[in-house]
């Protein structure tokens, strides 16, 4: 069954809201922004065709409240809800509530969201689909943990089942630390995630974070290339690129095939990202998790594929079959993305909310800035610190990085402190320029740099 989307409620904020509105305009879909009280004057609110109040500034009562989102969608008679990323984007209760209300949820089926929503379930699906996983397993008590540890060896990681984004993860160097760390991890997991379950995993000392973008229609899926997101600080990505540099062709092909196998196993409908850990020493890869939504870093894939991923996402949400075959996916050149955050790197990346006085952006061929701010915008303290994404497409990686450096020099976001100086220093670093850094690189880079505030 297909449902034509004519009016779309965007249940999100920030740059992704502005991004979805842009595709709506191009496709002739009416956009309605569901905004919290902190966002009713924001740039996305000015760009959307209509704005509906979602709730108070506190996200728990607005962007994180499925009932409020459905109420807003019903109030404006929207055909569909686009959840963006973060907030309720992977929340099965919103997907189900939309279905009950007869509204299209722009995302995978609730069953898919549940299948990949927790790490252990996702891992079991990955195993069933034939993907390699990091050796490890669940441990209910110390004896169980010792058993798993004997199999995977030390060092190992204890991870909270309910964790994610680096939260609830602890390193165990050797057998003497196991009992203590396990106790700590279980009690912290119970307190932080309401779920005391933990599992143990081999620690990969030099790993790259590489992910494969997929798109499925429930029957068939295509892989839209890979991205490297290894430049991270405290598990938060700062810089992404497509394709992942310096990967052997055979490994890249195996990763794409693995991602497709998982998508097909799940009968996946929607945009999704299969996150993989590439072990630099062993030259192998393991399944990490699957993100069942559009991601912050989707523009680098758009730049190298020439596709509008939001439009593709809306089409499969309407129930249309994929318009793409795998052979239609042709990658051109190299794209990089710098995430510009309202943070002060000189003060330990301290957040910098406030009023922006002026925004001047580089423009031209192969340049794109996705942002939700302009001169006069207020950056509220309630949400994340992402201000803008500078995305640059070049003929190859060196070209893209060189052009990104030039573009950064032209970019001005005045009034709050931003991470632009960090990106300038990063793009000038020789190890980074060589490509293929691992996930420990960025902290080492910061230690070696004196990154001044702008």
């Amino acid at each position: 069954m297909t449902t034509r989307i004519r009016r779309l409620l965007i249940a999100n904020r920030g740059e992704i809201a502005a991004r979805v509105i842009r595709t709506c305009r191009r496709l002739g879909i009416e956009s309605v922004l569901a905004a919290s009280d902190a966002d009713t004057e924001s740039l996305p609110a000015r760009l959307a065709d209509r704005v509906v109040r979602l709730g108070p500034a506190n996200a728990a009562q607005s962007y994180l409240d499925p009932a409020a989102v459905v109420r807003a969608a019903q109030a404006v008679e929207a055909d569909a809800v686009h959840p963006g990323y973060g907030f309720l984007s992977e929340n099965p209760s919103l997907a189900r509530a939309c279905a009950t209300a007869g509204i299209v949820f722009v995302g995978p089926a609730p069953e898919s969201l549940e299948a990949v929503g927790d790490k252990l379930t996702a891992r079991s699906h990955a195993v069933a689909a034939g993907l390699p996983v990091v050796p490890g397993g669940e441990a209910a008590d110390l004896a169980g943990a010792q058993e798993v540890a004997a199999e995977v060896g030390y060092p190992l990681l204890v991870k909270a089942v309910g964790g994610g984004g680096g939260r609830g993860m602890k390193l165990v160097a050797g057998p003497d630390d196991l009992a203590h760390t396990l106790d700590l991890a279980v009690s912290e997991a119970a307190a932080a995630f309401g779920d005391p379950r933990v599992y143990l995993e081999r620690f990969v000392s030099s790993g790259r974070h590489v992910e494969v973008q997929i798109l499925g229609d429930g029957a068939r899926a295509v892989a839209l290339g890979d991205r490297d997101c290894s430049v991270q600080r405290r598990y938060q990505k700062l810089f992404e690129e497509a394709p992942a540099p310096l990967l052997p062709d055979a490994l890249r092909a195996e990763m794409a095939a693995a991602a497709l196998a998982l998508a097909e196993h799940l009968h996946y409908r929607g945009l999704g990202t299969v996150e993989l850990l590439v072990d630099r020493e062993r030259g192998s890869f393991y399944f990490l998790e699957m993100n069942a939504r559009i991601q912050v870093e989707h523009p680098v894939t758009e730049m190298v594929t020439g596709l509008d991923l939001v439009a593709e996402q809306l089409a499969v949400a309407e129930g249309l079959p994929l318009g793409l075959r795998q052979e239609d996916v042709v990658l051109t050149g190299h794209a990089v993305e710098c995430r510009i955050n309202a943070e002060d790197a000189a003060l330990g990346f301290r957040p910098s909310p406030g009023r922006i006085h002026r925004v001047v952006l580089p423009v031209g061929e192969g340049l794109r800035v996705d942002t939700h701010v302009q001169g006069g915008s207020v950056v509220p303290p309630y949400y994340d610190s992402l201000l803008a994404k500078l995305i640059v497409h070049g003929t190859d990686r060196d070209d893209a990085v060189a052009r990104a450096r030039a573009a950064l020099d032209l970019l001005r976001i005045e009034g709050v402190t931003t991470t632009v100086p960090v990106h300038r220093a990063l793009l000038a670093d020789p190890e980074f320029a060589a490509g293929g850094v691992d996930t420990t690189f960025f902290e080492r880079f910061l230690d070696s740099q004196l990154v001044g505030a702008r």
Binding site: R26, R53, A75, R350, R358, L361, G364, P381, S385
Partner: protein, 155 residues
């Protein structure tokens, strides 16, 4: 009307073949200044000026929060302010005991709460040695940068 990045690129193509250094456009709901930055390329400064009209969903609007009372503390007492604005939490996690309570003794480095700003948690230190005599802000309440979180009687 909104200009898309493609529209701006079309403007640039026209400008590239001209000798113009700068172009300023004013439309009903938008201003745009495109500027040539020497050999480095072009920049754009855009202002969408349309004021949004906000519709109400079915739920009633929450009552507006009353402004916080003036941040005065008594003579000889010390106010503890947040390190930056954000949501003030008195305990490390929901259900946990508070970092400190009324009557507790604190030192300059004692953590008396945390402030969440843009998803980042920053500890609040007492900054003074003494006894906690009053809390001005409850758990989960929003603190402006000049808010008084709690009051300490110096030792």
């Amino acid at each position: 009307m909104e200009l898309t990045p493609d529209d701006v690129r079309d403007v640039l193509r026209a400008l590239d073949s001209s000798g113009l250094q700068e172009l300023h456009l004013e439309l009903a709901d938008l201003t745009l200044t495109v500027r040539r930055e020497g050999a480095a390329g072009w920049t754009a400064e855009q202002q969408v000026t349309r004021a949004p009209q906000v519709e109400q969903a079915a739920a009633p609007a929450a009552a507006a929060e009353a402004p916080a009372p003036a941040a005065e503390v008594g003579e000889g007492l010390v106010a503890v302010h947040p390190p930056l604005l954000g949501t003030f939490y008195r305990a490390p996690q929901p259900g946990a005991p508070p970092f400190v309570d009324i009557g507790d003794e604190v030192g300059t480095e004692t953590v008396v709460g945390i402030v969440e700003t843009m998803k980042m948690m920053t500890p609040v230190h007492a900054g003074v040695r003494g006894t906690v005599v009053e809390f001005r802000l409850g758990n989960g309440e929003f603190a402006d940068a000049d808010a008084v979180l709690l009051v300490v009687e110096p030792a």
